[in-house]
């Protein structure tokens, strides 16, 4: 499901700018200012999405849209309180953010009392255990791999449906759950903010069809859900504000409509008429509309530019482009201003010089290459000279969308300046990642993007640059640089065993720098995602973890 996973929320460039432009000239500044309404209870929020969620099943969902929607329906062990200036990790189902053992291999969480499902029964530690366990079944696929990677016995466990339990999850009583891990995981309590670490009552588990029957312990429950058409959420009357530090229950219901064209959605919300006034979008604004809408002052109060913990980059295949000088020359040569232009301009994101983006634990500001984002051709040419002035021809893999093909052209133009000829290989967008992640298909340059699962370098660098994984997962290789640098690998192992967060983050910063020293990748932009809501939607929080407009405090202005 790469198309919609956290990895690649690529904003497709559709050929619709003309209509939006037409809308802008015809009704410039017509946006009615009904924003003076006051917060209150009641009303229905409409969510306009171009496509259905990959899953709502908490153990399967891996898209930001689905995860954000699940926050309304269910609760996780820990969660992010984003009402302040920085995201704060808090206990959600759990009373606090968990207790690690010395060495961080055993994590204990105590559950709140009185958290109730939609039928009034109480959420128990056994339900959380069962929920995590079911994610091991091959039927419950698509979700993140962390439980299987870390829990003792996880690599052999096949889920609870044949009656077996996973012994490394212990539930000494109704309100206590203990996880035994194979290795130290210092930020395990950040992993547990993901929906996989939520409760599923065995009696209401419908296996692979659970997507439409998720049993709610959050403020809203599923009233009806027709796949690819409409999801209707209504209040869960058993939910209690007193037990929930993150969510509110302001609106009466949420009506999610799927299937409209993304430009039509942008246009509708921009025009702010009828139900559009109480609507919001979860998919980001279409690339073609972005520059236009980002610059419209009349939309300012209902335009959300959300920095994502993500990076848009160009991987240089280190096994094919072996000469470090050539790779460094590429780092200097690429004109990031034209590259960003292809992706939608400044609204898309800031120029990147590191693989870790500023919101991520482990981020350290540094720039090894050109200070000017437009590049430094003199330096690049000098490096090429050092490399003996080869005139190589390189392939670049991009999605076959207009956006990415413009991007490829920008790269091609930059590299021609230093005598590198570039052949563009556009790959069908829906099969892009399954193609490039297969080690059978290697290119000299490969476009990629990555959003962290939680804002820590541990979900970015080890996944993208641990060269020892290439052989292990030949069909789902994430190391697009094919970097297998012993120095990087050693830092990965070192960070993994560290329990002190500050020390660990410092190690990740070092790792980031080492990767860029290897010139294995050209970081292009730290990504932003932009969404809009109607003028009567209030309480939208910028969720910088998911890069989604968070709905946990949403209300309708009256």
């Amino acid at each position: 499901m790469t198309r919609r996973t956290r990895r690649s929320r690529t904003v497709a460039l559709a050929a619709t700018a003309v209509v939006i432009a037409l809308g802008a000239t015809a009704c410039g500044g017509s946006s009615s200012d009904s924003g003076s309404g006051t917060p209150g209870k009641g009303g229905t929020l409409t969510v306009l999405n171009k496509a259905d969620f990959d899953h709502l099943d908490p153990q399967r969902v891996y898209t930001t849209e689905g995860q954000s929607m699940d926050q309304e329906i269910l609760r996780t062990l820990t969660g992010w309180d984003e009402s302040g200036s920085k995201p704060k990790l808090v206990g959600d189902l759990a009373t606090d953010t968990g207790t690690p053992s010395k060495g961080a291999t055993v994590w204990t969480f105590h559950l709140r009392h009185g958290v109730k499902y939609q039928d009034g029964t109480e959420v128990t530690a056994q339900d959380v255990k069962y929920g995590v366990e079911r994610g091991f079944s091959s039927d419950i696929n698509g979700g993140p791999p962390y439980a299987a990677q870390w829990l003792v016995g996880g690599s052999d466990y096949k889920g609870p449906y044949q009656g077996k339990q996973l012994d490394s999850i212990r539930t000494p009583d109704r309100y206590t759950i203990v996880f035994h891990l194979k290795q130290p995981v210092a930020d395990f309590n950040e992993t547990t903010t993901m929906t996989g670490w939520s409760a599923v009552p065995k009696a209401h588990d419908t296996g692979s069809t659970y997507d439409t029957k998720v049993w709610s312990d959050g403020p809203y429950m599923i009233k009806s859900y027709t796949k690819n058409k409409e999801l209707v959420l209504t209040r869960n009357t058993y939910w209690s504000q007193a037990t929930d530090p993150i969510r509110q229950q302001n609106v009466d219901g949420i009506d999610v409509k799927f299937g409209q064209d993304e430009s039509a959605i942008d246009q509708q919300i921009k025009a702010d008429a009828g139900t559009a006034q109480t609507s919001i979008q979860q998919w980001p604004i279409a690339g073609s509309d972005l520059a236009q809408l980002a610059g419209d002052p009349s939309l300012k109060s209902r335009y959300y530019k959300i920095p994502a913990p993500g990076i848009n980059y160009l991987a240089i295949n280190t096994t094919r482009v072996k000469d470090i000088h050539v790779r460094e020359a590429i780092e200097y040569a690429i004109d990031k201003t034209t590259v960003r232009g292809a992706f939608g301009g400044s609204a898309y994101g800031d120029y990147a010089t590191t693989m870790l983006s500023p919101g991520i634990g482990g981020y350290r500001k540094f720039n090894l290459y050109s200070a000017n984002p437009a590049g430094n051709l003199a330096k690049a040419k000098e490096l090429m000279k050092q490399a003996g002035n080869p005139k190589p021809t390189m392939s670049i893999a991009v999605e076959n969308t207009p956006t990415e093909e413009h991007f490829a052209d920008a790269v091609k133009t930059s590299l021609e300046h230093i005598g590198i000829h570039v052949n563009i290989s556009p790959i069908d967008a829906s099969n892009y990642f399954s193609t490039i992640n297969n080690t059978k298909n290697q290119y000299d340059l490969t476009w990629g993007d990555w959003i962290a699962d939680w804002p820590n370098a541990s979900t970015v660098l080890p996944t993208l640059f641990d060269g020892r994984l290439i052989k292990k997962n030949p069909q789902s290789n994430q190391d697009l640089s094919y970097l297998n640098d012993p120095k990087v690998n050693a830092l990965i192992d070192k960070a993994a065993t560290m329990t002190d967060v500050a020390q660990r983050n410092a190690t990740y910063g070092q790792m980031d720098e080492q990767i860029l020293k290897d010139a294995a990748v050209v970081p292009l932009m730290y990504m932003n995602f932009s969404d809009m809501s109607g003028s009567k939607v209030g309480g939208v929080i910028s969720d910088t973890i998911l890069a989604e407009p968070s709905l946990v405090h949403v209300y309708i202005k009256h």
Binding site: M1, R134, K158, G207, Q260, Q268, A271, G274, S434
Partner: protein, 330 residues
């Protein structure tokens, strides 16, 4: 007649078998792997193998194909772990993506396509034939040029453009219509109609051109026929001559094309219109299924669309027999 029908249906079954076979094997020739997609972004080979097994993709293509065909007639049961999904005959399989029997999804999407396709088809047939007739009668004069001009406009604009423009004008700017979309007619007939006005209009604008031109040229051909002179010589009023004697003969070639258009429209070919107006029909389902490598849905939507095109063909032949007494269905 009856024998003719049987023969046509048998031929249709063979065609559909061929289409299914081709679709099936093309799918496996594609680089995408549904198991890999389902597996997620960091997928270990062992997990991948398990998912392959649970999706039934670990068996040989021939076995899978045979299972699919068997399911069509005998039904199948899917899933062996978390849940058992019963898929009764004719079973088109169960979606990899939603774990829903494909036929259930198709049938729930079908009313939207039927409403969209039939409604638009009736409108563009009536308008196109009307405009074409006017153009033919007023050949070379202002009305002809206007009709041909309108038709030319329709054929040169893109659905995508015209759809978004209509949405912008009628929904966003002047707010004459509510947001478009599909409401079942059984729930709210007025809402059904309002939600479909713009999609219908879009399709009409795009299809009108062809029907206008076709009617015009067909009419002009008929006008030159001796029997049209006979009709006038009888003293029939001009309207009767044109509409009864002329249209009756001119409509035959139009029926063929109309049949194919209706068949493919309600079979889900109005993908872009569906997408622009947020109508979740079979066209969108088909496109999504290809993007998600959802083989059962790909097969299902292909078969479904093929069924309608084939049915449309048979219906066209039958209607031909009714319209033109010279055509004998023997």
């Amino acid at each position: 007649m009856f024998r003719y029908l049987i023969r046509r249906l048998l031929a249709a079954a063979v065609i559909m078998l061929v289409i299914t076979t081709i679709t099936f094997f093309i799918f496996f020739a594609l680089p995408s792997d549904p198991a890999l997609l389902a597996c997620g972004k960091t997928c270990s080979p062992s997990r991948l193998a398990e998912i392959k097994h649970s999706l039934g993709l670990d068996r040989s293509y021939l076995t899978q194909y045979w299972e699919f065909l068997k399911g069509l007639f005998a039904g199948r049961v899917f899933g062996d772990q978390s849940v058992r999904i019963h898929c009764g005959a004719p079973c088109l399989g169960v979606s990899f993506q939603t774990d829903t029997p494909v036929l259930t999804t198709l049938l729930s999407d079908f009313p939207a396509d039927l409403s969209l396709g039939l409604g638009a088809a009736v409108a563009f047939l009536v308008l196109g034939v009307g405009l074409g007739t006017v153009a033919a009668v007023r050949r070379g004069r202002a009305a002809d040029k206007a009709a041909v001009g309108v038709a030319l406009f329709g054929v040169s604009v893109q659905i995508y453009f015209i759809g978004l423009l209509l949405l912008y004008l009628f929904v966003d700017k002047f707010q004459i219509l509510p947001a478009s979309g599909y409401t079942p007619i059984t729930e709210d007939p007025a809402g059904w109609f309002q939600g479909l006005i713009l999609p219908w209009t879009t399709l009409v604008i795009v299809y009108l051109a062809m029907y206008t031109r076709l009617t015009r040229s067909s009419m002009l051909e008929v006008f030159a026929e001796d029997y049209m002179r006979t009709a006038r010589a009888k003293g029939l009023p001009a309207a009767t001559v044109v509409l009864k004697h002329g249209l009756r003969a001119a409509i035959t070639p139009i029926i063929t094309i109309f049949g194919m258009d209706v068949g493919s429209l309600i079979g889900g070919s109005a993908v872009i219109t569906e997408s622009v107006f947020g109508i979740n029909g079979i066209g969108k389902l088909a496109v999504d299924s290809v993007q998600n490598s959802d083989l059962p849905v790909i097969l299902g939507t292909t078969l479904f669309a093929a069924t309608f095109v084939v049915i449309a063909n048979v219906v066209v032949d039958l209607v031909y027999g009714l319209v033109d007494p010279r055509v004998r269905l023997a």
